[in-house]
């Protein structure tokens, strides 16, 4: 069982994630968008969305520190385990709670604003469930350490070595198996999230427009290069009317 969960599943997840991204990039550039609903509702979005996004960026940074940087490195620069852990829990809790608050606002908005709810696909709903679960259980591992565990579980001796070992194709299954249940659960949900990632609107994260900093303001393109993208479908050309709206989503 452990081998399946911590030895096989991560690679299966990676294959789906990478393969899915490549496939969607090649097949579905037109669908690769944030699908913003700000046109329908702006007030709640302008609170919820930045809180969630900045929160999740902090959370990602935290995961990077916790999982990628070995304990020995931080100790080598004189950072004690206690000091590290206090920081991780403190900053992590703030980021996690912020992220959760953000997504709660966004989900509330999505449900309560008529047009926004109508623009929500089944795909979106599944994505929200998995994403929210991943955030909640991730926050649980953090908060549990704060309130119940005293020093808490040192995941840098279990989860992190396992995570790094995945990339050298010698998964350290035993370490991961030794981690508490809450970490197992969070990791599994995280893997589910990455599996569905390429197939949901979350893909927009992979085209964060960082090249905007480096390109000239005005973009010129020759006509020669522009016409290659046409392909024989009719997406985006559905006729105006309420009918298609109803049939699309119900």
């Amino acid at each position: 069982m452990d081998i399946l969960l911590w030895g096989v599943a991560p690679y299966a997840m990676l294959v789906v994630l990478v393969g899915g991204l490549i496939w969607r990039y090649r097949y579905d550039q037109f669908g690769w968008t944030t699908r913003s609903s700000q046109l329908y509702e702006s007030k709640l979005l302008r609170i919820g969305s930045p809180v969630f996004h900045f929160g999740i960026l902090a959370v990602i940074a935290g995961h990077f520190f916790g999982l990628v940087i070995p304990q020995s490195w931080t100790e080598a620069v004189g950072m004690s385990q206690d000091f590290y852990h206090f920081n991780a829990l403190f900053v992590g809790s703030i980021a996690g709670i912020g992220t959760l608050a953000g997504i709660i606002i966004l989900i509330y908005r999505r449900r309560k604003t008529g047009p926004v709810f109508m623009a929500t696909t089944r795909n979106d709903k599944l994505m929200y469930v998995v994403l929210t679960a991943a955030i909640i259980f991730g926050l649980w591992t953090t908060l549990a350490s704060v309130f119940f565990g005293g020093h808490g579980h040192n995941y840098r001796e279990t989860v992190s070595p396992w995570f790094r070992s995945l990339f050298i194709f010698q998964p350290d299954i035993a370490s991961m198996a030794a981690a508490p249940f809450s970490f197992h659960l969070h990791t599994l949900i995280g893997m589910v999230l990455f599996v569905i990632w390429p197939f949901t609107r979350l893909v927009h994260a992979f085209t964060a427009p960082l090249h905007y900093f480096f390109r000239p303001y005005i973009v010129y393109r020759s006509r020669d290069k522009t016409a290659t993208s046409s392909s024989p479908t009719r997406r985006g050309w559905a006729p105006v009317g309420t009918e298609d709206r109803d049939t699309q989503h119900r």
Partner: protein, 591 residues
């Protein structure tokens, strides 16, 4: 000098009767799709008025266009790259649907399906966004013909400006006010702030003709372009999650046809043609300190296509000779740069717009005539232009960043032309003192009159075709061949927005082009797309008329599988595709 070609448009506002035909045909061609219900690539506003979207000219609120920073360099008014990226998660300045209007339809079904009763059934308005009953409270031209101007006229940002700067008030009482129509499309600017705002780099200016387009594959829906465009001519398709904009009907322009809005303009007030401009000078010209100098600096960027140096430089940039020739015959160049009577809309946005306007003289003429004066006499007109500060001030806010002298000069030129030509029409000797009073000679004024008043189709629209050597890449080619698939979107696991985009071609346009350029009688090579709208009366296309009864009843059941082309009894049964047309009764074919 880096010479580039730019398709431009000039609209003569005196001729606009506000019929909205351009808007309607444009909408039918481009934005009659789900997600673009509220979108008008072309709209006609009554000015004074709030415009569409409401008060879009209030850049203190909407932050469109460019401004100069402290060092005198151009920067986006909405903020630089870092600021834009920080605001990516919830765009800070973004029009909502309420700023445009909530699109609606009517529940026509009730009219025919309501059960028998005492009352007449009513088609209630239904929102196209929610599908629920809705109340119609605004639209793209709600204040048409100064409707509601007594209550809302002061909300026009330009009226506010004029009021701030002058002691007089623009009056909205019926007898004292003035009005004119302002048709607007995307300006296809030389220094487009939408392009500069796009984090994904999906918006681009075409090297060949300067048309600004959105790459639907690269757009990720960040919507910074909507903030960036001061004319609010970038729109968000809320179904596909992508930005869309006026395309200058590039599939038509590429084959030498005018845009839909120009083609269908009842007043024939639109002119299309090429500008040659110096791309290296654009940034410098857009950065001049004084806003009122922007009009002049924009003119300076535009090059003289008769200048041998310019021609040589254009050839260096591989601009084809027929394009240079078209630039020489360009009506927009003549109106903007030679006669200097076309002005850019809001040069103060520093985007170098390439849709120009001949300001309307009619408010002045109407007023004079109503007061019983001779409204054709240039003396009276000149006096009135100097006297009637309010219309002139208002026009100056629109077209010259508030410089009234420039607008007044254009109006006087138009007035002089009116007076000069009246003299000629009445058989008098041409009074050359009239053109001289506005710094023109009689011959130039006569030519200007010809272009303004009686120019024919091919003088108003001088559109060089895209080149054959590039033709295999044109959107138009092969697209109706490629798909015969059913209309509507396929259901996709990623929501309605996923999949690849549709080519923009319009079926009827394709067949029209084929018919116009083919030597064959009707029916051949039509690929089943003939209807009354594009039938030129030449031959008898299959399926357009009921079958004639001949010896063998066969044609009506023709299908590609039966090999209808082999029967050979009709000249038009040229092939499977032709015979499969209207006869199959597919309504989608004949839209």
């Amino acid at each position: 000098m880096r010479v580039m070609a730019q398709m431009g448009m000039v609209m003569n506002l005196d001729k606009c009767i506000g019929c909205h035909t351009c808007s309607v045909t444009c909408k039918q061609a481009w934005t009659n799709r789900a997600g673009t219900e509220y979108v008008w690539f072309n709209n006609v506003e009554t000015r004074p008025g709030q415009g569409y979207p409401r008060r879009y000219e209030d850049q203190e609120k909407w932050k469109g266009g460019w401004e100069l920073n402290k060092r005198g360099r151009l920067k986006l008014k909405a903020g630089g790259r870092a600021k834009k990226m920080l605001g990516l998660f919830a765009s800070p300045v973004q029009p909502e649907l309420a700023d445009y209007y909530e699109p609606w339809t009517y529940d026509y079904r009730t009219l025919v399906e309501a059960p028998l009763g005492d009352d007449f059934p009513v088609a209630k308005p239904k929102s196209l966004i929610t599908g629920e009953d809705t109340e119609i409270t605004w639209s793209a031209n709600w204040d048409d013909d100064l409707g509601g101007a007594t209550e809302m006229g002061h909300l026009d940002p330009m009226v506010e400006k004029v009021r701030k700067e002058s002691e007089d008030k623009i009056k909205f009482e019926f007898e004292q006010t003035f009005m004119f129509y302002l048709p607007r499309i995307c300006e296809h600017c030389l220094n487009p702030s939408c392009v500069a705002s796009c984090p994904s780099g999906a918006i681009y200016k075409r090297v060949e003709d300067g048309i600004v387009l959105v790459d639907q594959d690269q757009c990720r829906g960040w919507r910074q372009c909507i903030t960036g465009c001061p004319y609010k001519k970038m729109y968000f398709n809320h179904k596909t999650g992508k930005a869309e904009k006026c395309t200058f009907c590039y599939p038509r322009v590429e084959v030498g046809m005018p845009t839909i809005c120009s083609e269908t303009c009842v007043g024939r007030l639109r002119y299309l043609g090429l500008f040659l401009y110096d791309a290296d000078k654009v940034t410098e010209a857009a950065s001049v300190q004084d806003e009122q100098d922007l009009y002049e600096s924009q003119l300076d960027v535009i090059l003289d296509p008769n200048d041998p140096e310019v021609i040589a430089a254009a050839r260096d940039q591989e601009i084809p000779d027929d394009w240079i020739d078209a630039a020489r015959r360009s009506p927009v160049y003549a109106l903007a740069k030679v006669y200097k009577i076309a002005l850019p809309l809001h040069p103060e946005y520093r985007t170098m717009p390439m849709v120009w306007y001949v300001p309307p003289l009619s408010p002045v003429v109407d007023l004079l005539r109503d007061q019983g004066h001779d409204a054709e006499d240039h003396g009276n007109l000149f006096g009135a232009i100097d006297e009637l500060r309010i219309p002139v001030e208002y026009l100056a806010e629109l077209f010259t960043a508030g410089d009234q002298d420039k607008v007044a000069h254009v109006l006087k030129t138009l007035a002089a032309m009116r007076s000069y030509m009246r003299g000629i029409s009445l058989g008098q000797d041409p009074d050359d003192s009239i053109p001289e009073s506005v710094g023109m000679d009689g011959e130039t004024m006569y030519e200007m009159y010809r272009l303004m008043a009686i120019a024919k189709y091919d003088e108003r629209y001088v559109i060089p075709k895209a080149h054959v050597e590039q033709a295999h890449d044109l959107e138009e080619m092969g697209c109706s061949l490629d798909f015969e698939g059913g209309p509507g979107m396929q259901d996709s696991p990623f929501g309605e927005a996923s999949g690849s985009p549709t080519p923009v071609a319009v079926d009827t346009f394709n067949s029209l082009k084929q018919r116009q350029t083919s030597d064959e009688p009707a029916g051949r090579d039509l690929r089943g797309r003939v209807n009354l709208l594009n039938w030129d009366g030449n031959g008898v296309p299959a399926g357009l008329f009921p079958e004639e009864h001949r010896d063998e009843p066969q044609a009506a059941t023709d299908s590609p599988a039966h090999g209808g082309g082999e029967t050979g009894t009709r000249p038009d049964a040229g092939g499977p595709s032709a015979s499969a047309s209207g006869a199959s009764g597919d309504p989608a074919d004949n839209r």
